[in-house]
Subunit: 252 residues, 2 copies
Amino acid sequence: MTIHLAESGDGAVLQPCSHDYQVNCGNCRLNSICLPLALESDDIQLLEDIIQRSKPLQKNQHLYREGDDFQSVYAVRSGTLKAYKTTDDGKEQVTGFYFPGEILGMDGISNNAHASSAKALETAAICEIPFTSLEKLSSLMPSLQRHFFQLMSREITEDQQLITLLSKNSADERVASLMLSISSRYARRKLSATQFRLPMSRVDIGNYLGLTVETVSRVFSRMQKMDILQVDNKEIRILDLPGLQKMANVAG
Amino acid sequence: MTIHLAESGDGAVLQPCSHDYQVNCGNCRLNSICLPLALESDDIQLLEDIIQRSKPLQKNQHLYREGDDFQSVYAVRSGTLKAYKTTDDGKEQVTGFYFPGEILGMDGISNNAHASSAKALETAAICEIPFTSLEKLSSLMPSLQRHFFQLMSREITEDQQLITLLSKNSADERVASLMLSISSRYARRKLSATQFRLPMSRVDIGNYLGLTVETVSRVFSRMQKMDILQVDNKEIRILDLPGLQKMANVAG
DNA sequence: CGTGCGCTTGATAATGGTCAAGACGCGTGG
DNA sequence: CCACGCGTCTTGACCATTATCAAGCGCACG
């Protein structure tokens, strides 16, 4: 784990920093799937002005923790994060994985405190969007307000997908669905839809899908035996996409 | 099923109607928990002006169906509704129950089409809030914009609660949690927290909690045997609230 | 008064959890 | 560079919870 930045720090509070890593929304490779989507370039500049970029999060560092004051929502620029809640009896429930271009932290709006924690699964660069600034800007820019409503609504429909998955589908179907979801998120970024590296552990997958590690592992083995997937630890290659879709047995 | 209104109609498209049933947001008993929360009375009048009230929905009538064009969100004035999705293989997943003062339909914003269906579990009066009007008003009234962001965020955190429940908790814990949730929603309306009528069937409960009817029924019997609940079909009386909370084993 | 739907209860079966042991890979330190 | 050790993953045997199948009850409604 090489430290390639001058400053150190714990990462819990992101410090604004001047090395801006050559990015702004206008030239960001992700702007067609991220928050700037649907904005005119003049408007993008206004959004740009409120966004704060800071040094990357190292693996296992927290972006925020359950109960922290809610100040901002965050866009993932690179790397992956997981969001999770800790239940009263100490168990962990992973509520989502966040890939580049995706927004997290919106569950903190309702109570002005984060309802979940977010932690980096690998080194991750983040754009911080202070929420009060975003609110003001939204009042001025109907298309931004609309887009942010849509983002929140998407979070709701995705959670409902997961609810259905947990409630109605077998272990095989759950794991297959997650693989398809990850595949389509790579595809959206113009990366390979059939060959990718899982950023999360088996434990995280199980925790997200309501299964134990052992069950997840067995499902992978079964898929491999059926020549649907080639699994080499975290490296995944989808060999039979129609077969995987059939196994998932769901639209999403 | 008695029709006590002059007009007939299928209820899928609500017709504005002039019998206004003596209500407006200013005098509505629910305004402290519903959308007008946190608005000044001048502002309430502006909100009032965009809200459309219409004849009540009869039991089993749909407010909207999955795939319908998204036009409005809805506030429940009286009665109860369930929201549900139909999976590819024809099974039904109940994603939520909506009691008076609660808002539904927000899952339609992201794709301009409703992502779920909503149906009345009993006769229900509804306030329809056209979304484009709400957006315009939100731009003008920061506190309304804020409040609506909060409502959506709450929907997200509630869905995450359900995800955790489905993923980590036993049948006993799930049913106990639902009973506590319903109890607190009655309490919020200043109704009895310990004695109430369930508006939904055992099938709906099972469908919501990821359990079969038989399991739900067995859990109720067990709770009754333990003198935690008195169950008479849909009439529920909570005899031992601490015991129920212990059984639920969750904060919510 | 009968029919049907919703609810309950019992017997049996299957899916996934638990416990246990071993393999593999990776980073650390000698 | 290799050896060690720990954490992650895999596999197997057994067990528990809940689903499935089946039957009967009771209330509401025609």
